[in-house]
Structure formats: structure tokens, C-alpha cells
């Protein structure tokens, strides 16, 4: 069941300027949330930002009662989060949306995870789930430059497989887009049972062209401007193939690429 939780900021970890993690005490949400789901976060400012912002739950610890988010500073909401003193309280509406599916894969299966920049956010929890289910995963993390890839520190020891880095400028890892790094592996014969991806729309569009021909079943964690996060405003739609518009907050955010009109 969705609920509006009060949460207290207990920890902030900075990967590089403008790229950080925040951890909140929020026991009920920590128990309820599944990998891939998100929460609508309200920072305590009345006028601006006025609406809540959606953040994927990066990880949750039911025992400790904590939930963590990985954040990239963009505008008003994220700047407020960046400056917020420890022990501040926020409101978290969640859990929202659907979750990644893992349970149906047989033990020993190999999956791929593709993340562009802050698109890495939903994957710590998924990677732990994958390891626990006895699967292996290659983690492809792309960014514009070395700074954007600083978030990789959050994944140390979490990846049951290979970590592949790619940067547009070649400063770290393979040079070029992360989708190209994936395409090279697929071209060389690597096979995956499923692919999970999160990143900016241009990355998804490029990725759809790779996974389609490879017939690689995929789950994309999509992003759209959200007014409410629970299906009430119809502001967050994405053009679909089976119907004109998909309501991304309640039918997603995790969608298979064939359902999206690119």
C-alpha cells in the first residue's frame, strides 16, 4: 500500500560535486519497496519546488529501516536536497510504480544492466537481488566523463560479474557510448537472459536499436516529468505502440521497449 511517510535524513555521501547519495530513516517504506520502484520526495519548501520530485529507490535496508537515493544536482529540488542539514525531515510518498522482474529467471542465468549517468540510481538494490537469486550480471555504466562515472564507487563489491565503464571522452573505460560497449559484447557472442536499463531518453533510443534485433528481453526504467506519481494527473505520459499514451508512473516506470513509440 502507498503511504505518505515522514523520513529523516541520516547520511549523505558525495561521489563528486553534484553527484551524491542520501539515506533516510523510513522503516515502513524500507520494508515495502521493491527494486525499481520510486518515491515522490517533498523537500520542506512551500512555493518552489511546488511539486514533489520522483526518485528511484537506490537501495533499502529493511533491518536498519533505511532507504537510499542517488541524486544528480539539476535544479531547485536537488539543490535543496544537497544543502539540507542532517536530521532534516522530508516527506516520501511511496512505494510508487512497478518493479524490475527477476524471480522468473533460473539460477545461473546471466543478465546485463545498462546505466547512463544518474541512471545508475535504481541498480544497487537490483544487483543485490540478482546476486541473492544466484544470477550473474554484467554492469555497463556510461557517462560523459570521469566525473560522471564517480558514482561507480557505490557499486564496489555489488556486481556479480563484469563492470564495463564507458565515457564519451574516453577518459575512463571504453571510449564512446555505453550502448556501443554493450553492442560490442553482443557482437562477440555474449548472451544475456534479460537486460535492465536506466538513463536519458537518447540512450534508451539507441539501446532499443541494439536490443530489438538481438531479441534481448528488456526492462527500461523510464523517466517523464511527473505531477503526482500515482496516476492522477496524466501528466507523465509516454507515446505507446499498443495505445496512444502510457501513463508512466502507474503503468511503469519500468516498461519493455517494444511498448514505447520511439
Amino acid at each position: 500500500m502507498k503511504a505518505d511517510h515522514r523520513a529523516t535524513l541520516t547520511r549523505r555521501q558525495i561521489f563528486s560535486p553534484g553527484l551524491f547519495s542520501v539515506t533516510f530513516d523510513c522503516p515502513d517504506l524500507a520494508r515495502a519497496v521493491l527494486p525499481g520502484q520510486f518515491a515522490m520526495l517533498e523537500v520542506p519548501e512551500r512555493a518552489q519546488p511546488y511539486l514533489r520530485r520522483a526518485y528511484s529507490v537506490a537501495d533499502a535496508d529493511a533491518g536498519a529501516g533505511t532507504v537510499e537515493f542517488l541524486i544528480k544536482t539539476i535544479g531547485r529540488g536537488t539543490r535543496a536536497l544537497e544543502r539540507m542539514p542532517e536530521r532534516s525531515t522530508v516527506r516520501l510518498l511511496g512505494p510508487m510504480g512497478n518493479a524490475f522482474t527477476v524471480a522468473d529467471l533460473p539460477r545461473g542465468a546471466r543478465v546485463a544492466i545498462v546505466a547512463g549517468g544518474i541512471g545508475a540510481a535504481p541498480f544497487p538494490a537490483l544487483l543485490r537481488g540478482i546476486a541473492k537469486a544466484g544470477l550473474s550480471a554484467d554492469f555497463f555504466l556510461g557517462g560523459r566523463n570521469a566525473k560522471e562515472l564517480s558514482i561507480r564507487a557505490r557499486f564496489d563489491g555489488l556486481v556479480p560479474g563484469e563492470t564495463v565503464l564507458a565515457s564519451d571522452d574516453g577518459a575512463l573505460g571504453e571510449k564512446g557510448f555505453v550502448t556501443e560497449a554493450l553492442a560490442r559484447r553482443l557482437g562477440a557472442g555474449t548472451r544475456y537472459a534479460r537486460l535492465y536499463a536506466c538513463g536519458p531518453m537518447p540512450m534508451f533510443a539507441a539501446l532499443a536499436k541494439v536490443v530489438g534485433p538481438a531479441r534481448l528481453p528488456s526492462e527500461f526504467s523510464t523517466e517523464a516529468e511527473m505531477g503526482c506519481g500515482f496516476g492522477a494527473c496524466l501528466g507523465c505520459v509516454i507515446p505507446g505502440t499498443e495505445k496512444p499514451f502510457i501513463v508512466s508512473c502507474s503503468e511503469g516506470p519500468i516498461l519493455s521497449p517494444e511498448k514505447i513509440q520511439w
Binding site: D4, Y50, E225, C228, G235, C236, F245
Partner: protein, 317 residues
């Protein structure tokens, strides 16, 4: 003493004056984790049309200072699916349902209202003649008193249900629109819908919303909406009004009641705080209990007692 929160608006009696506004409360069912639908005065459905409607291309919304712009384009499941799939569940929750309807042409409104006539569990019909986000219909009716009059008269003839007409704040003369709707048979007037606005991304010099313009809502519009409710209440005394615009707190509710509204609708605030409507009912209950007063006694207080209110609304003394 009768229930201090109960209000009567012409033929419509409600348990309390806190309703939720069309398009900001889905079909109600999205909110059952947050609000006891039976505890609020009523809910207005997303605008219903005869056929399912896909709405506008994204991006459809953007945040603005103390509010938002939207151009959803009246996406809805259509009246038939509403009656067969949503309404039975709403009835099971004990909700007081107000069906908000719209159309491109006069006859579309009439057909939707007729399609609702056979359905049980609809307390009233609210005509949206004020949506700024569709190319046809909608606001075109609301911005012209003669068109308003003709449309409302036709719909009036098609239903025995309490008829609410939702006015456009973009109309050149709101009082004239209100008068036209009332004279053509509206039992209740609700005001206001969103104000036409625009936001442009400086980086691209393109509108932030694909439709170009959008409807402005949220606390940013509250003083405008309060002024409009005050004006219409003053010009048309005795006509029951529902006040809408940026309501998020108990003090906002009291403000609209004082301006002359007998009930209010909470809109955009539902998005950031889905439990807000239920909370307002509780707070208003406590407020009335602590002051041994009734909601009815709070209505129109700004018009009484010799206070001077200047400007376009005129003075009373």
C-alpha cells in the same frame, strides 16, 4: 443542532463542503490509500467525453512558481467505461460522485449527459465549459455568454440531476458568463478553472508544454480566484457557488467561504499531498466545534458587516 458541516447548494446537499476538483483526483480510485472517499463532501471526476480521448502529446505539465501549467488535453476513458468500470467501485467506497463532462460541440455535451442519466450513484453533473487545453469546445463555450446560455439550456433540458456549470476565469466578463449560465438553468456555479498561461525554456526558446499554452493552477492563482468568487457572489446573491483555486490549507477554505462560496474544491494540492482533502474535513470539523459554529454561518462573511471592499468589486457600507 443539525450537522455543522453539512451544506446545501440548491438541490444538492453534501455532508461537508470539501470536494476534490476535476482532473486533479483521477477517478477517485487512485486515492483510496490516502483518503476515505466517503468522508469528503464529494469528488469531481476527470472530464468525461462520449468516446475515450487520448489527450495531448507530452510534455503536458511543468512546474511554475507556487503552481503548475498543464495541457493534458482531457484524456479520459469515455463515459461508457466510466459507468461500467469506475462508478461501481466508487459507489462501493461510499463516494459522492460528481460527473464532470465536456465535448467539442453542444450535442456532444448533451449526449454525454444523457449517457449518464441511466447510471445510479451520480450526485450531480458538472459542465466544463472552461478547459483551455483543447482546440475545439471547452473554453470556447465559456468565453461567450450567448454560447454559454445556449449550451446550458440544452443540457438543462437533458437532465434532472443537479447541474453545476464550471466557469472560465479567462472569460472577458466573468459575471456575464455566470449570469448566462444561471439564467439558462445552472443550479450551482463552480469557479474557477485554470488560467491560460505559458512557460518558455530559455535554452531552447520553445514552450515547455507541447500544446504551447497551458492552464495555470495552484496557490499562485488563489488571490485571483478569491476575487472572482467574491465578485460573482456579490453580483448574483443567492446563487450557490463552489470555490476553486489554489486551496491547500484550512485558512484557504475559510477564505473562499468568506468570499461567498458554499463549498470548495481542492485541485493541484492533491498531487503533492494526496491526503489533503480528508485532512481539511477533519480540520474544518475541529474548527467549527471549537467555535461552536457551522459552515453555513461562515459563508459570505466578507460581504457582511459594513467592511469596505473597494476596486472593481465595489464597496459596501
Amino acid at each position: 443542532m443539525s450537522d455543522p458541516l453539512a451544506v446545501t447548494l440548491g438541490p444538492l446537499t453534501l455532508n461537508n463542503p470539501i470536494l476534490t476538483a476535476s482532473g486533479t483526483f483521477g477517478y477517485g480510485l487512485e486515492f483510496t490509500d490516502f483518503v476515505d472517499l466517503a468522508a469528503i463532501g464529494g469528488l469531481c471526476t476527470k472530464g468525461l467525453s462520449l468516446k475515450p480521448h487520448a489527450g495531448n502529446a507530452p510534455p503536458r505539465i511543468c512546474e511554475t512558481p507556487a503552481g503548475m501549467l498543464n495541457a493534458i488535453g482531457l484524456q479520459n476513458v469515455g463515459v461508457e467505461a466510466f459507468v461500467s468500470e469506475k462508478l461501481p467501485k466508487l459507489r462501493a467506497c461510499g463516494a459522492t460522485v460528481i460527473a464532470n463532462v465536456w465535448g467539442d460541440l453542444e450535442d456532444d455535451y448533451v449526449t454525454v449527459v444523457r449517457a449518464l442519466e441511466g447510471a445510479d450513484g451520480i450526485a450531480a453533473v458538472e459542465l466544463n465549459i472552461s478547459c483551455p487545453n483543447v482546440r475545439q469546445g471547452g473554453m470556447l463555450f465559456g468565453n461567450s455568454p450567448p454560447l454559454t446560455r445556449a449550451l446550458v439550456a440544452k443540457v438543462r433540458a437533458a437532465t434532472r440531476r443537479p447541474l453545476i456549470v464550471k466557469l472560465s476565469p479567462n472569460a472577458p466578463d466573468l459575471v456575464e458568463s455566470a449570469r448566462a449560465a444561471r439564467e439558462a438553468g445552472a443550479d450551482i456555479l463552480s469557479l474557477v478553472n485554470t488560467f491560460v498561461g505559458m512557460a518558455i525554456a530559455p535554452e531552447t526558446a520553445r514552450p515547455r508544454i507541447s500544446f504551447g499554452t497551458g492552464g495555470l493552477s495552484g496557490p499562485a492563482i488563489r488571490p485571483l480566484a478569491v476575487r472572482m468568487v467574491y465578485q460573482v457572489a456579490k453580483a448574483l446573491p443567492g446563487v450557490p457557488l463552489m470555490g476553486i483555486g489554489g486551496i491547500a490549507e484550512l485558512s484557504d477554505v475559510l477564505e473562499f467561504l468568506a468570499a461567498g462560496a458554499t463549498a470548495i474544491q481542492v485541485g493541484t494540492a492533491n498531487f503533492k499531498d494526496p491526503g489533503v482533502s480528508g485532512r481539511l474535513v477533519k480540520e474544518l470539523t475541529d474548527y467549527c466545534a471549537a467555535r461552536k459554529t457551522t459552515v453555513a454561518a461562515l459563508v459570505g462573511r466578507a460581504h457582511r458587516g459594513g467592511g469596505r471592499v473597494g476596486g472593481a468589486a465595489g464597496a459596501e457600507g
